[in-house]
C-alpha cells in the first residue's frame, strides 16, 4: 500500500464529512491566519519605521552636551575642529540651538512649532530642500543675521503661501523670512508636523536667549557609521577627559534598536497566535479519537483483510495531516484576506500607510507547523486505531 493510496483514502473520508472536517480545520485556519497577519503586521511596521528613519538620515550622529560642571566648555569652533580632524569619518556638522520665547506671526502666538537654531549645513544633513527663496548661508551665521527659513505649514497657514520677505517674531527677535522649505510629509502639512518649523542661524539664536544643546554630524559613509561614532566619541573624550558630559547617538543605532524591539514584539505576538494552532491541533486530535471509535468496525474489517498495524496508523495519521494541511492552505488564503483588510483599516483609522505584508517565511512556517500538528496530534488516535484487536473491532456495533 503506497502513501498515495492513504492520501486518496483520506481525501475520500474528508469529502464524505465536509462540515465536520471544516469545523475541525477551523482552529488551524484561524491559527495560521493569525500568525500570518501578525508577522505581516510586524513586517509592515518594520518597513514603516525604516522608511521614517531613512528620511531622518541614517548616517547622522546626534551629539548632546551637558558641559555644566566640566572643566572645559565645548565651543562650536571646537566641534568644527573635531569634525575637521576626523574628516576621514565625519562630513557635515550643524549645531542645534534651542530658542526661548514665543513664536508670533502678526499678533497670533503659535505653539507646537519646531524652532531651532542651525548652521547652513543643516538642510543638507537632513535632506531638506528649499522651495522658495534661499536657505541659510555661512554669512547669515557669521553675521548673526535676523533671518529664518519656515516650513510649508506656516507658509500656507499664516502667509497664504507668500511667506518669503515677510516677518515673524521670536521672543524679542524680529526675523525676516528668507526661504520656505519644500513640503516634507506625504500628507497635507499639519500643525506640529515636520512642516511646522522655523530654522534660524544658531549664532542668532544663541546670542539672544537660546543655548546650543547639541550637534548633528554626518558620517562620511553610511557603512562606517559605527567607526564614525567611535572617532567622534574618542575626540570628545579627549576633550572632556570624561564620559559624563556628552552622549553620541547614531540614527542607525536607534533604528536597529527599534527593529529588534519590533522583532521581539512580533515574536511574542506570533507565539501567542501559535497557541491557537496548538488548540486547533487538539481539536483535530479530539475529532480523530471520535472518528476512530466510530470506525472501529471499519478498522476491524480492514485488519481482517490483511491491514498491518502500520497501514492503519498511516491511514489515520495521513488523514489528520491532510485535514490540517488543507486547513493550513485555507488559513494562508484567509491570512492574505485579513492582511489586505488590516492594511485598509489602518489606512482609514490612523491615516498612516502601514502595509501589512505577509512574509514568505511566515507562510512556509505556518503551513509546516500546521502539517506537523496534524501528524503530532493525529498520532495518538492513529495508534489507538492501529492497536485495536481485530476480533473485538469486528464485533463492535
Amino acid at each position: 500500500m503506497s502513501v498515495l493510496d492513504s492520501v486518496t483514502m483520506a481525501l475520500k473520508n474528508i469529502k464524505t464529512s465536509k462540515v465536520r472536517t471544516f469545523l475541525t480545520m477551523l482552529g488551524i485556519i484561524i491559527g495560521v491566519a493569525a500568525v500570518i497577519v501578525i508577522v505581516g503586521l510586524g513586517n509592515g511596521l518594520q518597513n514603516y519605521v525604516t522608511d521614517s528613519f531613512a528620511s531622518l538620515g541614517t548616517n547622522t550622529l546626534n551629539v548632546s552636551v551637558q558641559s555644566r560642571g566640566a572643566t572645559r566648555t565645548l565651543k562650536v569652533d571646537d566641534v568644527y575642529a573635531i569634525v575637521e580632524d576626523n574628516s576621514e569619518y565625519l562630513a557635515l556638522c550643524s549645531p542645534t540651538a534651542s530658542v526661548s520665547g514665543a513664536l508670533k506671526i502678526g499678533t497670533e502666538t503659535i505653539t507646537g512649532s519646531t524652532v531651532s537654531g542651525v548652521s547652513e549645513d543643516y538642510f543638507e544633513i537632513r535632506g531638506y530642500e528649499i522651495a522658495e527663496g534661499r536657505g541659510l548661508v555661512y554669512n547669515d551665521i557669521a553675521t548673526c543675521a535676523k533671518v529664518c527659513v519656515v516650513g510649508e505649514y506656516l507658509n500656507r497657514a499664516y502667509f497664504d503661501g507668500e511667506a518669503v520677505g515677510q516677518y515673524l517674531r521670536l521672543g524679542y527677535l524680529r526675523l525676516k523670512i528668507i526661504g520656505v522649505m519644500a513640503q516634507e510629509s506625504d500628507d497635507a502639512p499639519e500643525s506640529g508636523g515636520t512642516d511646522d518649523c522655523v530654522y534660524l542661524p544658531y549664532s542668532t539664536a544663541s546670542r539672544s536667549s537660546g543655548r546650543i544643546t547639541g550637534y548633528v554630524i554626518t558620517a562620511r559613509d553610511e557603512k562606517t557609521v559605527t567607526q564614525s561614532k567611535n572617532a567622534l566619541e574618542d575626540a570628545l573624550f579627549d576633550y572632556f577627559d570624561s564620559e559624563d558630559y556628552y552622549t553620541v547617538i547614531s540614527m542607525s543605532e536607534i533604528l536597529s534598536v527599534m527593529t529588534s524591539m519590533i522583532d521581539i514584539m512580533v515574536g511574542v505576538l506570533a507565539g501567542i497566535a501559535a497557541i491557537s494552532l496548538v488548540v486547533g491541533g487538539i481539536g483535530i486530535m479530539n475529532i480523530m479519537l471520535v472518528s476512530v471509535t466510530e470506525r472501529t468496525r471499519e478498522i476491524g474489517i480492514r485488519k481482517s483483510l490483511g491491514a498491518k498495524e502500520r497501514y492503519i496508523l498511516e491511514q489515520f495519521i495521513i488523514e489528520a495531516a491532510t485535514t490540517s494541511a488543507i486547513g493550513g492552505v485555507l488559513g494562508i488564503g484567509f491570512g492574505y484576506v485579513l492582511s489586505a483588510a488590516a492594511t485598509k483599516v489602518i489606512e482609514l483609522a490612523m491615516d498612516e500607510a502601514l502595509i501589512v505584508t505577509p512574509t514568505a517565511s511566515a507562510i512556509v512556517l505556518a503551513f509546516g507547523i500546521s502539517c506537523g500538528i496534524g501528524v503530532l496530534f493525529g498520532f495518538l488516535p492513529a495508534r489507538k486505531a492501529a492497536r485495536l484487536n481485530p476480533i473485538d473491532a469486528l464485533r463492535y456495533e
Binding site: D5, T16, R297, I301, G306
Partner: protein
Amino acid sequence: MCALIEFRNVCKYYYMGDNTVVAADHVSFTIERGEFVAIVGQSGSGKSTCMNIIGCLDVPTEGTYLLNGADVGTLGKNELAEIRNEQIGFIFQQYNLLPKLNLAENVEVPLMYAGVGKAERRARARKALADVGLDDKWRNRPNQLSGGQQQRVSIARALVGDPSLILADEPTGALDSKTGKEVLAILRSLNEAGRTVVLITHDNSIAAQAQRIIRLADGKVIYDGPVDEPPKGGGSQ
C-alpha cells in the same frame, strides 16, 4: 504435501477476573486441500473461537495450529496480517463491506494491502465482481444493494486475492432462505472449482451442504465425519 489446516490439541482460554473460560479444549482435526468442511455448534460451543484461530485473527493459548505447514502460533501481528491477506478469504455474516467505498473499491481492499498497483487492482476487482455477476454495479455503494448481492460482493472480495482457504462465518445468517441457498450454491461451486471452503454455522441444514462436518460442543470436537451421519443433538432449524 502437508494438510492445509492442522489443529493439534488446540486450547483457548479466556480469563475473566478469577474465572477461566475454556473456549477450545484440546481440539484436533485436519482439513485437506479441496475439502468443503462445516464446523457446527451452538453458541458457546467454541466454533467462533475455532474460526478466529483458523482465520489467524487469534492464536491458540496451547497446542499447535499449522496452516500450510507453518506454525501460526509463533507468528507476530504483522505476519498474521500477511497470512490473512494472502491465504484467507473471509466471508462474514454481516457482509462487512465498507459503506463509503463503491463495490470495486471494496473488492480492491485486500489487493491494496498486498501492494498491488492501482490499474491491476481495478482490473482484478472487476473480474471478481463479474465472477459473482455484479460487474455492471461496480460503481454502486453497498447500501444500494440487496443483502444477497452484498454477500456476493463479499465473496468477490474473499476471492480476489486468490487465497488457499475460503472461511465463511454464518454466510447465510442475515439472508432469507432463497438467497441463502444461492450463496451456498456459489460456495459449493467454488469448492467444485478446487477451493478449500470452511463454513462456520450453528444451522445443521446449512452444514449439510458441506462434504464433511466437524461438530463442536463445550469446546470439544464431538463429531468429525461425513455429512450423511445422523446429527447428534445440536441445533436444528
